[in-house]
Subunit: 239 residues, 2 copies
DNA sequence: GCTAATTTGTTCGTATGTATA
DNA sequence: CTATACATACGAACAAATTAG
């Protein structure tokens, strides 16, 4: 070992050197093969892999089996406006995308404490759960899970299946208009099921938006939890 | 190999079994040691480690050297309201926290294309860059980078250093009020520098809020890019 | 307070599988 | 078809942090 190697692991030093090589332009698009990097940095191939893995976790690199390891170009993100009038179809058409919603599944559930609070109903009340996938131009943009009070919206599932629109399905139940009361945004790592639907790698990040829609009288009609692929979307708030 | 092992790697099957064990309550707080799991699932310890690593990347597990591997309890998140009147100090005091801002560094920079667009100035115009760390009750809540037109706000750095508040520093330059014009929210993996300031693990996720503040005349006074630790914060939008 | 045992982390070696060029 | 390159999986050893006694 060298003198300047105080307490830093080898794979981290290798990662730093790769990062530096990208920063100063020595490496532009594709990395040399792992075996070559191992030789160059005088470490085992596993050590190189550990370094690459950590840089891939940061989003800087992307490995493709049989092809090589590549530097990730930051992708331009599609904007998704968030506000009182948030509706999916209106949002994405404005950006020249043909949007479509697909029902992933639906089921009857009972309200737990959190849902009861959000929907202003009793714990244990019957709810319908709708899982939807939103796609624009073949690219999945979000998966969302909506909860509706079953007593007030008995035909919400069929209504959505037939019209492909929550707005229309609510109209069938006499709710002619609704607005977004509150939106909470956070981020987390994608779960395997969502990753499948969103066509994302398993280590991706999703933006999570938890919202409540209320009707004209302020009564909650829907509790919604939407997951957006962070690498493809940004949420935009304009007061 | 078994019959039921169609194309799924071993580490992934191990990960699924660990996930199931957590879901059904077999494992509550702490996982058995890696060596024991390796024996139980009849795989090499490396294979167990690969599985744990993937679950840790999801945020479900957390490994501590010398102690063991633990199930992560989802942490309650501090809410950060986003809106036209977004100001840091007002936001967190409402939740019983004593907030404080600390200047990380400041420097003079030239506007690139993106900054010039946001601040409505010429490319190459002189700007001041302020990097701040926000802390409440000893816990880092955000790091933010603000850009101010240097000609209009020549003493912004000193003003902030003395008052510890952007609002106050702007008042010294005659801007008595400002509002948030636009906020764009996305999420990404933390970079090492921010991770240090936010006291976060290197594989953490940050919520990124890019905003523009304008004065009463609608002139941009600040372009701001704030990074929040996603595991500690949520952004909340209430119209 | 010190030592030994436990447990995760790093690093090497080796072999084989699988996708791509 | 062959060579290349990343992915998975085993084994072995030691380092580093923590805990138990």
């Amino acid at each position: 070992m060298n003198e300047a190697d105080e307490g830093v692991t080898r794979w981290r030093r290798v990662a730093d050197r790769i990062r530096a090589a990208i920063a100063d332009g020595t490496v532009r698009e594709q990395l040399p093969p792992e075996t070559e990097l191992a030789e160059r940095y005088a470490v085992n191939r596993h050590t190189v892999r550990r370094a690459i893995q950590s840089l891939a976790a940061e989003g800087l690199l992307r490995s493709e089996r049989g092809r090589g390891t590549f530097v990730n170009a930051p992708a331009p993100r599609l904007s998704y406006p968030v506000g009182p009038r948030t509706r999916f179809s209106e949002n994405v058409t404005a950006q020249g995308r043909r949007p479509s919603g697909r029902l992933i599944r639906s089921e009857s559930v009972r309200a737990d404490k959190a849902l009861a609070d959000m929907l202003d109903c009793a714990v244990g009340a019957a709810l319908f759960r709708l899982d939807k996938l939103s796609v624009a131009n073949g690219l999945p943009l979000s998966v969302s899970t909506g909860y509706f009070p079953a007593d007030r919206f008995p035909n919400i599932v069929r209504g959505y299946a037939e019209t492909g629109s929550v707005t229309e399905a609510l109209k069938l139940h006499g709710v002619m208009d609704y607005r977004r009361q509150e939106t909470r945004i956070t981020a987390e790592r994608v779960n395997p099921v969502d990753a499948e639907h969103l066509e994302l790698p398993l280590d991706s990040i999703v933006l999570v938006s938890a919202a409540i829609d209320v009707d004209a009288d302020g009564r909650p009609v829907q509790a919604l939890r939407t997951r957006f692929p962070a690498e493809r979307m940004e949420l935009i708030i304009r007061p």
